[in-house]
């Protein structure tokens, strides 16, 4: 939808210089993409499914998960397809024993140390690469820690955190520019933290929930969803989504209302929407309950 709209907008825009096209080869197939594109862009253009965890369409690549690695002819090491820009004549292999081994290893190390149970698509990824996180045994080191439950709107369960940096970038200079969170500590102690690990209500957080929107593992989760998952009532197969417009100001953010059993259980915005890029403010993301407070005072 939105790319159609972007095409419309481009019609009205003063002509900017068209970008030169760069041709590379992916698994023996030739593909041309505009200069500045990444290997991942080229792969997507060919319809190739490269696994990613930290990469997100609205964020600057953080380059940390190493699951999107591909083999580049002439390069000593594998390269991250999400951030490596195309150069003319590159020859890329997206699947071979070396690539698969790397992906398997990454998934096994993440899978053994982090709770990936509600991370959409990740269990499937683990199966596809035949990763066996359990082979490190029950005593494998893990990042488990108590759930941080310190405010009315969302819950942080860092036992599910793979340190992909998406939340840090959404809160920081990619979108929100609030800078309430960053990675603190080093090595196995590295974790997402507010300043001095202060509870969220004492931090700079403004509860836009744009970190929740991009979290790939459910480590950051809206309270309603967390409660329903706890009660075993969260059932995405029973949910419908409807796009409407947020009522709270004149910007016109598209709100996707997730409805289960006739009740709004979550609000998001499409990442491809060019008003929001998937972002909302506290009112849009959490301010919908008033239509469901139906008991008389």
């Amino acid at each position: 939808m939105s790319s159609a709209h972007q095409q419309l907008v481009r019609l009205s825009r003063p002509s900017s210089k068209p970008k030169a096209m760069v041709e590379i080869s992916v698994d023996g197939e030739a593909v041309s993409v505009p200069e500045g594109s990444t290997i991942l862009d080229a792969c997507k253009k060919l319809g190739k499914d490269i696994p990613t965890l930290c990469w997100h369409q609205t964020l600057t690549p953080a380059n940390v998960c190493r699951v999107c690695m591909v083999e580049l002819e002439g390069a000593r090491t594998l390269v991250p397809s999400c951030s490596r820009e195309v150069e003319p004549g590159m020859k890329v292999k997206t699947r071979n024993e070396r690539v698969d081994l790397t992906r398997r290893l990454v998934l096994e190390m993440l899978g053994s140390s982090v709770d990936l149970s509600i991370s959409p698509g990740t269990p499937e990824m683990i199966a596809e690469y035949d990763a066996r996180p359990e082979r490190f045994g029950p005593d494998a080191a893990n990042v488990a820690r108590p759930v941080k439950d310190d405010n009315a709107l969302y819950v942080r369960d860092y036992s599910k955190c793979i340190l992909c940096y998406r939340c840090v970038q959404a809160c920081g200079d990619d979108h929100q520019n609030t800078f309430a969170i960053a990675v603190a500590g080093r090595g196995f102690d590295a974790h997402i933290s507010t300043e001095f690990d202060t509870p969220l209500p004492n931090s700079a957080c403004v509860y836009c929930g744009n970190c929740i929107a991009v979290c790939p593992t459910g480590a950051l989760i809206a309270r309603r969803e967390w409660q329903m998952r706890g009660d075993n009532t969260w059932d995405e197969s029973k949910q419908t989504t409807t796009d409407t417009i947020c009522p709270y100001c004149g910007v016109g953010c598209t709100l996707t209302l997730h409805v289960q059993d006739g009740e709004i259980v979550k609000a998001t915005s499409p990442f491809g929407n060019d008003v929001t890029l998937g972002n909302l403010c506290i009112k849009g993301r959490f301010g919908w309950q008033h239509v469901q407070n139906r008991e008389a005072d």
Binding site: T240, I245, G250, E263, K283, G287
Partner: protein, 543 residues
Amino acid sequence: MEETDVVLLWGSNARNAHPIWFHHLLKGIRNHGTRLYVIDPRRSESAQWADAWLGNHVGSDIALANAMGREIIHAGLCSRDFIANACSGFEEYAKGVEEYTLERGEELTGVPADVIRECAHAYARAEKAMICWTLGITQHHDATEAVFALINLCLLTGHIGKWGSGLNPLRGQNNVQGGGDMGAIPNRLPGFQQITDPAVRERFEKHWGVKLQPNVGWNLTEMLDAMDRGKLTSLFVIGENPAHSDADANHVEHVLAKLDHLVVQEIYMTRTAELAHVVLPTVASWCEATGTVTNSERRVQLCRKAIEPPEGTRDELWIINEIGTRLGKDLGATGPEAMWNELRVLAPHMYEGMTYERLARYDGLQWPCPSADHPGTVFLHDRLWKKGAERGPAAPFNVVHHEGPVEKPDAEYPFTLTTGRHLDAYNTGIQTSGYSSPMTRGETLDISPEDADRIGITSGIRVRVASRRGSVVVPARIDEGLRPGVVFMTLHYPDDAVTNMLTINASDLAAGTAEFKACAVSVEPETSVSPARSALGAMPASA
């Protein structure tokens, strides 16, 4: 927004009130190097992102704009070719602003002369620049003049009708723009067409099969006056809470009580609904019904029904159609899409190309969109850069002068109270009281550290805030973003305090918007006995 060079954010705290729009501005600041000037009596959350904050006196915007205009003219920075091609009234404007020297500007606005100069030069020298404003401009008794003052700057520099340039009033609700476009203002029919134009009326009369009255109606404040004078005796209020949202709340309740018949169509039992003779329970239009809204950039967008409304409520269109039927007129088109298509016929210059299907496909379209292959219009007024007949009517300069707020501080009421929004709350709090914001702090009187010291209060101390119209008691909160003499409250928490008991119903003659942004108040610790309070002994105080 993301490719403009200079933005004057005037009378707006968009970081709080339009957070996602502010994201786009931040992308400009960070990636493009956009320079931001924030003009606001408060050093707001938005001002923290500015290259310069111009902390002017409340209601001194016209003086500031005129001083900038004079400086641009004297520095030889105006866009002569643009003015010669597209504008009228430049000579009069130049004469009109001549008295607003930088020194006089500093005197009237409190902004240092060299900062006014810097801001004027930055705006005038930019290749692309925008002026964006909100209620800090429009909630004053001379709001229309203040908007003219900003338009003058834009015409002077030719920052209009081009990519990355222009004038941008940021709307405060999802359909402020759409409401006006649909004719919910006293002088317009749907499609922003003049009701006084016989040719326009004839087209609507033919389509609707009724005779239309030709007169311009009353705006909100004129309606309140008419109720007071007994000229307006029946009122149908749809989704508005004037008892809390209008200035001088005591007076508003007083005139609402005079009505013979008050009908309120609402999703909540608001204060206004409590006063009504008949309440028509209806649905939340943004999630329990289908229809369109129009955002700040004129983008018509689809709202869709996501959940079933509560039992016993009726759809808004059903109610209006049913009232029509019972008054003896079948209103014809039923259902949101049929009504939308009627609009496309009656206002084809704006909407013909906007089918529901296209609105869905493109995530909305910006009017005018006159045909099925039209991409919508990203910015307006590019005609001003064309020559001859293509240019159309000239854009006029309007000479306007500084008056300042109607109610100026004096010995008895020494502070200027201005109002605005918190990030996590909305208008009179009807919707946002429905969720638990960790940031909510309820109503406070925000006051500068200097003033707090002077009257001997600290944060959390309960203070009585009194104006000539009423008084409220709220906790004080020290805000270093405020300058001495200015205090701040919101309208969000009527259960804590009805701030509009204090505000003044001095309204702009053209637009009818009241001066929510400026009234004179006194502030005293609640324990002391104040002469102001005893003088207001009979006034109800909200706790």
